[in-house]
Symmetry: C2
Subunit: 363 residues, 2 copies
Amino acid sequence: MMKMDRDLYYLHKALLLAKKGIYSVNPNPAVGAIVVKNEKIIGMGYHKSPGSAHAEQIALKKAGDNSAGATLYVNLEPCCHHGKTPPCLDLIIEKKIKRVVICQKDPNPLVNGKSIKLLKKNGIDVKLGLLKDEAVSLNKKFNHYHLYNRPYILAKTGMSLDGKIADYRWNSKWITSPASRNDVQKERAMSSSILSTSSTIIKDDSRLNVRKKEYLSKLKIQPPLLILDRKLKIPLSSKIFKDTSRQIYIFSSINTNKKYKSNVILVKTPSNNQKLNLKFIIKYVASQNINNIFVESGPNLLSSLITDNLVDEFLFYIAPKILGNNSKSFNSITHINKLSQKIDYHINYIEQINNDLKMSLTK
Amino acid sequence: MMKMDRDLYYLHKALLLAKKGIYSVNPNPAVGAIVVKNEKIIGMGYHKSPGSAHAEQIALKKAGDNSAGATLYVNLEPCCHHGKTPPCLDLIIEKKIKRVVICQKDPNPLVNGKSIKLLKKNGIDVKLGLLKDEAVSLNKKFNHYHLYNRPYILAKTGMSLDGKIADYRWNSKWITSPASRNDVQKERAMSSSILSTSSTIIKDDSRLNVRKKEYLSKLKIQPPLLILDRKLKIPLSSKIFKDTSRQIYIFSSINTNKKYKSNVILVKTPSNNQKLNLKFIIKYVASQNINNIFVESGPNLLSSLITDNLVDEFLFYIAPKILGNNSKSFNSITHINKLSQKIDYHINYIEQINNDLKMSLTK
C-alpha cells in the first residue's frame, strides 16, 4: 500500500471504532485510535463515556513499549489538558510515538491546535486533515457546541405528505410507521438532551425517553429532559416524573410550592408575550455542558424555533398519507404571504425507512 | 455463459433498446428485439412510433436468411393480428426462428397469449417470464390500459415541505427547482395526454406542452391536451390555442357559439353539483385510444381524483421549503376528521433531484 492509502485505511478504521461510542460519549466527542507499527495494528481503542479512558490511552496501553517508533491514527486532535483523565499528549510523547495522523483539530478552546503544536515541538511528525469531512460530521454536535458556543439543535417531526401531524382532535397515533419510530429511538439515544413542551407531554403523557433495548443497552444515562412549562401545568403524576434517575429541567416563569423530586431542576425563565425566552433557555442549556438538543414538540415551539432561525438540522419522517385540511400542520407559521418569503432549506440526506421517508434538512 | 445468464443478458439488452422508443411509441408499447445465433447478435431493432415497423420486424430483417435456427429475444409477446403492419408471428415462423424468449404476455385482448400458443404449435420453443417485472414496469401505462380498460392516471404535484403549492394569491412561480421542472418536461414527453383545468390554465396562461429540446426532438407529436372547462371560460386568445397542430379536447357542459380551431374537440360532458363527471371523461379518453393521462392541476380536481380513487400513481416534487398556513395546499380535502380516515399510499420510488425530492406513490 502507498503511504497515503495506508493513512486513509487506518483513519477509516479509527472512525469506525469511534462510532461505537456514539450512544454514550455525550458531551464528549466520539474518538477512535489505532497504533500501527511495520504495517501491523499493535493497539486500538475508542472512548466509551465521560470519565472513562480516552481512545488514545487505550490504544497506547495495548501497544505497550512496542509503541516506540509507531504511528498513531486518531480522528480528533488528542487532548493536552487535565480533565477527568491526564492529557493524551504526554502519553504519546512518553510512548515515543513517531508520527500522528489526525482527521480534525479539536475545536474545544482548551485544545484547538495546541496539542498539534506541542507534538511537532517534540519532534513528532503530524499529518492533519485526512477524512476531515467524515470526522467533522461524526462529531457534528460536539464541534458545533465548541465552535458556536451553543448546543446543536436537531428538530424532529413525524408527518403526513401534506405536512400534518395529527387530526383535528390532536390524535397522532400513529402517522409514521413503527420502523420510523424505532429510528427516532436511535436519534434520541444519540442526543444529549430532549426538549419538549408541557402541551406535548400532557397530551399523550409521553415519556420521551429511550426504550428500545438495542439502544438502551448502549446508553449510560437517559438523555436529560428539557421541558418548557411556563405555568407549571404538567401534573406530578405524569409518567416523565416516574424515573427519578433522569435529569429533568423545567423552564417556567412562575413561582411554585409544587414538590418536585430532586432530579427535577426548576429554571426561572424570562418570558415575553406569554412565550418563554428561547435564547435564554439555549444559553442555560449550554452552561450545563449539554452540547445538543433533540426537539420533539408541537407546531408552536417548532414555529418559534424556525422563525428565530434556531434550528441547526431538521429530521422529517414523512409518511405517504394524506390527512387533509382539517388536520393539524407541523408548523403554525402565518407570517408568509408572498412566495418570496418562503423559508428555504438544503437537503442533507434522504433515506427510505420501510414505507416512510426520512429527510434531513439544514439551513 | 450459462443458457439462463445468456437469456437474461440479451433480454436486458432488448429492454434497453425498447426504452429508446418511450417518447414516441404512444399508444403502442415500447418494444425491443434481438436475434441471436451462435452467441452472436445478428439483428436488433426497436419500435419507434405507431405505424412504423415493429421491433421484431426490424431485427429479423437485419438478420435476413441467417435467422434460421436463431433465438429471438423480445420484451413483449409478438403480435398476431393485422394492425398498421402485418403480424410479427408470421414473420417469425417464415424466418425459421427456433426459440423465442419473451418477458411478458401482451395484455391486448387481440393477442393475450395467442401468439405464444401459435409459436408453440409451429414447433418453436418459447420461454416466457424472464425479467417480467422490468418489462411490465417499462410499459406500465400500456399494460394498465389493456388490463383495466382505462387510461393509467399519473398525477403530478410540485409542492413545499408543508404541502403547499402557492402563496395565498396563488403565486406559484417557483416552488420547485429548474431541475425538477425539467423532470416534469420528461414526464410530459412520456405521456400520451395531459389533463388540466380551466382555472389552472387561465391563472398562468400555461401551455402545458413539451418545450425542452432534449425531449421535444424525440416526440412525434405534442401530447394531446385534455381540459376541464365546464363553462368554456378559457379565452380563445390563450396560449394553448396558438399551436393548432396539437389535439385539444375540451370537456364542458354547455353549448356555445365560440369559434374554436379545428384541432379543438368539444366534448359535451354530464355534470353533477357543478362538477364535470370524471368517470365519463376517463371513459371518453379511453375510447380515443389514449392509454394514459398526466394530470397537472390545482387542488380541486386532484382532490376529486383522490377521493374517487382514480389516481394510479402520484409524482410529488417536494422542495425543502416552508410556506406556512396562509398558503394553498395541494389538496382541498376536508372530509378527514379522524386519523383512521387518512388516505394511505405506498412509496414506489424516491429520487433526489438537485435540492428537491421526487417521490412516486401508488395505492
